[in-house]
Symmetry: C2
Subunit: 336 residues, 2 copies
Amino acid sequence: MNRKVTSLDVAARAGVSQSAVSRVFSGASASQRTVDAVREAADHLGYRPNVVARSLITGRSKIIGLVVAYLDNAFYPDALERFSNELQAQGYHILIFMAHGTTSDIDRVVADLLDHQVDGIIAASVGLSDALTDRCRGLNIPVVLFNRGDADPSLPQVTSANFAGGQKVAKYLVQAGYQRIAHISGWSGSKTGQDRAEGFADGLVKAGSQLIAQVDGMYKREVAAAAAQDLVQTYAVDAIFVGNDHMAFAVLDHLRFEMGLSVPDDVAIVGYDDVPMAAWSAFDLTTVRQPSGRMVQATVYMLLALIEGEENLAPKHEIDGELIIRGSTRALEQEA
Amino acid sequence: MNRKVTSLDVAARAGVSQSAVSRVFSGASASQRTVDAVREAADHLGYRPNVVARSLITGRSKIIGLVVAYLDNAFYPDALERFSNELQAQGYHILIFMAHGTTSDIDRVVADLLDHQVDGIIAASVGLSDALTDRCRGLNIPVVLFNRGDADPSLPQVTSANFAGGQKVAKYLVQAGYQRIAHISGWSGSKTGQDRAEGFADGLVKAGSQLIAQVDGMYKREVAAAAAQDLVQTYAVDAIFVGNDHMAFAVLDHLRFEMGLSVPDDVAIVGYDDVPMAAWSAFDLTTVRQPSGRMVQATVYMLLALIEGEENLAPKHEIDGELIIRGSTRALEQEA
DNA sequence: CTGAAAGCGCTAACAT
DNA sequence: ATGTTAGCGCTTTCAG
């Protein structure tokens, strides 16, 4: 059993002091002679610095905690992959936590994260309690909300322009000639869902129409599917804006295969996110694109700046997303 | 700024020694009096033990490195979620690495993991170089391959019964009356893909049929879709077994919407994995279920046992998966 | 530029 | 059961 090789072993073999070894591996200045000798010895012995010891003394772990709620919504695995790449490129690693639960659940998880001395936290689509937010602030550990707004605009957060996105959908549906328009919203407890819903209602009114009905889809497939059925049967809607693609796929399936309706001929469906699947022919879903690449970049940038101690940073970052028109809605009438 | 609270501060306030505090938080024995005093002081000061310091001295980080390649294949986000739950329940956390790359890429990533003193590594669907495998062994860090076999059966690995799964599909397709059967395999460089392909070919022969053609789908949607088109046009196949659901969805879409064919009337499609989407009406895919819950449990169990120093453990664990018959193939003819 | 020495916050003998 | 002591492997003053 290869006992663990320490910087002391390397120092002995290279004929230098242990601190010289440390300098070489932490990029501090050293003469070429020293560097060469240390490198040779390290390679020979298979030495690699122990980052745990390093973290203990520097107080930084180079680890980012990522809390994420829904991995069954394809938007998040996609974002996770981008986060991993982006952060790895900056020398950070991701400690991951799934938190599909209550606030207290999430708090426990984040407390764990804190114990691990993470340098920063990304909360993807989950809310943190005020107590926890305070604690992070007390420990000077930055938290950035990803795809999750907060009522408190001073909390660092990155979202797409949800209100504007909702408006875009409204304007388009009205222009396309739909008359009885409903909305299956994202969970009303989430700012993101609220904003989309409010933007949609606002856009409808501004376009001279109005919302026939609105139901909370809770970000759940079954809830959304049942809501869609009700909307069609009870309100005879001809278009439904669904709060995200994840639910929209369920609605599409239910309408087509359970109810035998045609989309878009009987009912038009619009989603939100433009996850890769939305472009698949089986769905061909009209949706608002959330540019996850840019959202992730903004989040990472913001988080690292905060870690570096940046003070004057606009905490709220909204990224615009365009409406992608596909076959789940009828095409816009040609301009005269 | 709340300076960091250490066990020393707690000790001072509780009127006990620092080691008493340590004992209380690491679960060693202590009198009720001490425990109470320490708890009170800790709560008051907001103390939490620093796990980095603990790791440094115990030599265990309670962190598991998870290396994963394809998050766009829904099987993996699902597994990730299960891993997270399972491991969290055991007091472990997941340091995640995305490695969609070459071997050298993966090696760099795992070297990184090793630097972080992870207690164990789960390699989901990626191969590690021999050099790295050796290094892990040298450092006594267990590695378990998840959904990824290896030519070396002494490497701990958890897979479904891929060969048997391929056989099941073959037997079923022949019994259902298909005559011209082809296979779009998973990447031939992966043991998993190979085993399914070999089992399929074997099953076909045993059922008195044979493989008309086989193409490597590389686990890529586009490759699989193009292969399917070729198979239909050049070989006039009436059934295709696709190496996993991820590719099968692409094939289904391409056949139906690009080529205007009917599945299953013109061509039958079978996948492998039974990811949640396979059950959606839009796909309704016949497939072999990989019981990801049980696979994850087996992997975690094996990994933790290895970490605890367990020696006599069967390294290879295969979990049986049943064939789920849905609408992408015609139903079996009734037994006479 | 380099070595010696002092810790980072904690656990683990070892005494008491 | 509890306090004392000695580190875990490294970074970081501080002299030289």
